[in-house]
Symmetry: C2
Subunit: 251 residues, 2 copies
């Protein structure tokens, strides 16, 4: 059992631009109760450890103090292979939308095979931006009361952490099959995917298809196509490699 | 869908002797986000609405202000037919122990058929007493990190409220079968069960089996037997009635 739960070490919770220090501390506590430990915060705050965050972290001050702070989301996700974004509302971008339990079951085989997965939690008032949601492979919606859907940030972290632990608990009844994850199933690194998208975008600009100040909807639709295809690392290499080859040949 | 979620009106969350006003407000908010509205608090506090609880209730001030306050647990549970108790630890009393999702699925048919069900949440530091847990028909454990299992009180309310909403959501995919709940399945009222147990206890004292200051283990075992049997109201009437008849005949 203890061995199975250790896969939660590969699970990263990312708070994107949180306003309240107290919520960062509460999120750390919520994570630790469920056996998660890797907290990352994308913020312009100089330090996330203060009286407010420490008070609410309670017995999880270690999680809070070890939390890493990043200036940009891309840096926070550099070593991540699967990125999930929480979204209160239905967005225009139609990525696969999962309830927390389905999402946890989708994530479990990745973390059980030592790949790092992240769940992004947006700002208290406004959530994740469309651009941030476009960075995600899957979207998670916690179904809520349409008349009052405002879950506290740390409450959302608790619910997702809970579902991840529950997924491990259920899988523990049948031992997780490990090490049968061949290259055909391995997910690409987030940074590889972003490099791919950046490559496409640059080429679209170079050819004049995209204006400098375009609104992003074209790239959004491209990202959606690939996100829904749920590419393996191997498939990305093929897609990216063939595209690059074709472009190179054209010149 | 909206119609299905209305069964959550029959779901009561009971905070037993909470220390912190802020937790009462946070619990109200957690409930409202998931569509629950009936909060009850067993407490010696004169009023649960103050600056701390109001601030944390955010948009759920209505739930907080409408919350009913009781001096004793029995009064809070008077109209309840199924009582579930949250328990962090394995207790000596071996009632059925469910994870939150299983518990929600067990509770759903009751609330969908207009019976009132309650989940009890204990004190921040010490949880529910053994005596309070003995009042329960089922026990719920939120599986947690054995090295740090201290979920915030309102976080526990959030997880259980979430699972109840998820249970309705899943059931909404297949319409809930309503009104097929005959008397053979109807649960007894909590107060009827307590009257039954009180009747047994008084008779055990009268006959000298129980000393005045007994430690409760005998009654605990009796309660366990009946709790595991999951009696219907009809069955309770038979058990109670036959017992009473036998005792009456004895004199």
């Amino acid at each position: 059992m203890a061995d199975n739960f250790s896969c939660l070490d590969n699970m990263i919770m990312v708070l994107v631009d949180p306003s309240h220090y107290g919520n960062i501390g509460s999120a750390a506590r919520a994570m630790k109760t469920m056996g998660l430990s890797d907290l990352r915060v994308v913020t312009t705050k100089e330090c996330i450890v203060n009286d407010d965050s420490l008070a609410l972290s309670k017995g999880a001050a270690d999680i809070l103090k070890n939390a890493r702070v990043f200036a940009t989301l891309d840096e926070a996700l550099e070593d991540i292979t699967l990125v999930a974004g929480t979204s209160a509302r239905m967005r225009s971008i139609e990525l696969p939308l999962y309830q927390p339990r389905e999402a946890a079951e989708k994530i479990l085989p990745h973390i059980a095979n030592n790949m790092k997965c992240a769940i992004l939690f947006g700002r208290e008032r406004t959530g994740l931006t469309n651009e941030e949601l476009q960075r995600c492979d899957i979207h998670i919606n916690i179904d809520a009361n349409p008349e009052y859907s405002s879950l506290n940030l740390a409450m959302s972290v608790q619910v997702l952490s809970y579902e991840l632990r529950q997924a491990v608990l259920r899988a523990s009844e049948l031992p997780l099959v490990k090490n049968d994850y061949d290259d055909g199933l391995r997910k690409p690194k987030h940074s590889d995917l972003e490099q791919f998208y950046g490559f496409i975008e640059q080429n679209l600009k170079d050819c004049g298809f995209l204006k400098e100040n375009h609104n992003g909807s074209v790239m959004g639709q491209i990202r959606r196509v690939y996100a829904k295809s749920d590419m393996s690392a191997h498939e990305l290499r093929i897609i990216y490699g063939t595209l690059a080859s074709m472009l190179k040949h054209r010149h």
